[in-house]
Symmetry: C2
Subunit: 401 residues, 2 copies
Amino acid sequence: MPEISVRGLEMPESPIRKLAPLAAAAKQRGIKVYHLNIGQPDLPTPQVGLDALKHIDRKILEYSPSQGYLSYRTKLVDYYAKYNIQVTPDDIIITSGGSEAVLFAFMSCLNPGDEIIVPEPAYANYMAFAISAGAKIRTIATTIEEGFSLPKVEKFEELINDRTRAIMICNPNNPTGYLYTRREMNQIRDLVKKYDLYLFSDEVYREYIYTGSPYISAMHLKGIEQNVILIDSVSKRYSECGIRIGALITKNAEVRKAVMKFCQARLSPPLIGQIVAEASLDAPESYYRDVYDEYVERRKCLIDGLNRIPGVYSPIPMGAFYTVAQLPVDDSEKFCRWCLETFNYEGETVMLAPAAGFYTTPGAGINQVRIAYVLKKEDLERALVVLSKALEAYPGRTELR
Amino acid sequence: MPEISVRGLEMPESPIRKLAPLAAAAKQRGIKVYHLNIGQPDLPTPQVGLDALKHIDRKILEYSPSQGYLSYRTKLVDYYAKYNIQVTPDDIIITSGGSEAVLFAFMSCLNPGDEIIVPEPAYANYMAFAISAGAKIRTIATTIEEGFSLPKVEKFEELINDRTRAIMICNPNNPTGYLYTRREMNQIRDLVKKYDLYLFSDEVYREYIYTGSPYISAMHLKGIEQNVILIDSVSKRYSECGIRIGALITKNAEVRKAVMKFCQARLSPPLIGQIVAEASLDAPESYYRDVYDEYVERRKCLIDGLNRIPGVYSPIPMGAFYTVAQLPVDDSEKFCRWCLETFNYEGETVMLAPAAGFYTTPGAGINQVRIAYVLKKEDLERALVVLSKALEAYPGRTELR
């Protein structure tokens, strides 16, 4: 039997999805599971998107252009203009989810052995895409104690060597909910410029910023226009995770040319998803406002609730719909497994994402979890009760700090 | 400005899609273009699939499981059983098109520098996915003169060295329409067994076999069950190229485990596409028969018509809906460009895929094109007239052979 590839062995399992079989087994046993592990909002898709789906009147579900429909790309230009991101339809390449945008960016910009600096904790799949491309992620630590703010520029420079080719950020951040400040974004800009790096900027949560702070896109930064590659997705914006529509956007024509070759190889992004996503751009202002207001409520509910549980600490996330919280447990992965395999409170349990999978530093995040506040408030409140009972009962509970 | 990756430079442009901008420009000038370049059937998607699309009654277009819906995988088991392919739902992983299945198979099974033997001409995107994975395609020549039959086993063995890890076939073949015989399949089986290779078998055209010859799946071959990875897609079977639903199927649990990590990283295959594909499995027998009968007609129309044009030669393809034909031209890419840029006959022209892009041997296929018979008979007949006029007028025409 031939061996599988080294890459296949090195690929991490998703910290978000790998416990899914345990959750399925718990459900089989009749346990209700509150899914706080995954960024799958329970909020409705915009009605205009659902209507467009119902009204598809094609006889053939044919290929779309490899770059994505021009009509959709044209309409996206106006969407980005609202955020003061000035692009043309040519700058935009539609991808199968933001995931494919990250993969193609890495494939097009990085050689095997090249290094990407990523603040950790980081979205775990960046690691998977880096391994796919043979590139190496070098993480720069941010800590829960400092609210996940970026360390000083010197810490970045310590990591930069002749294989460093890129910095990658997620802003607002998944998993921490952190929003980069003007000072931090300028610091990144200066590094990118000084060392002529690519800046991959995943900004799929731009709708969800809860403080008065401004959203600063990597595409707002002056002087590094040719270095920036914006990663986007409609998954979270419109509760359309399943349609697999993302985008890779850059002013760099050489990068677009390379990315388009990967796009041609996979033929086209999903046809129906593009139709739904294009229609969803016409969602009324009230849709965005309602969704936003809902997350504001949920954030308050979750963070207050977490910090009331003895031994639990969560900073207040400024954006996205996640937080990384510290639990009074020996090992959060053991705890998460135990919640699904052993524990229930009145027939219910919680599923969380062990945070160690978002760090590359060994031991980092061992007692942390990522929690997504994507459930409605009553469910979140109930999940907090169940979590608190679980922490009381868990045999690996540690001393309160 | 940072450089793009070597891989980004090496990626081939799609021979099928790279001339698309010229076709778009021709259409802008009011020229009607007959698309014989791309395997985009004009036949309708099954009504059951279209109905399922219309009846989607979800409020949230959510993620599906990374492996694809169990209900769909379960139903596929019966579909494959009709072809005497015995699999379980666990053996099946749903992908974003057959393309992703090829990419993940290469990523999971091949290390950078590993070699795959592929008979040429071959589907051009295998090359792109090999480059993505850092693997190397070594081609074994088949020729139009010999009807693209496989060379003797010795020719394969000449290519096998300690980096050889796999053989890849497409059966029935894209681009040639060739169908591997029992003898050829046994020859491949013996090689796979002797050298413990993977066998990647792309069988997306199994519905379209026009001779009395049996379809022999790689999964029918005894003794290499752990080596075979089947690539599939609903694109051609149901005229559903746009929904991006394919599958990777293997009895090898280690391979599935590795592939699943790539699947988790990209989260999930398209949700809506899976709903449509699952419903399409209920297409009545009459759907398959009508589509089949239509291709039989078109094949006859195209091949007869081609061979009537002076200087043109096409073997009779036994399956799929392509043929590779030889034209009396200096360079088929120049000819294809000229058809789109310069030529028209009564306001019409043809778009063909230059065949050189399906070969890796320099100079091979220089006067060949791939032609897809995916247009209705009247259009095919008219396209043949236009092609014949183009060949008369083309300045780079060569002597008749």
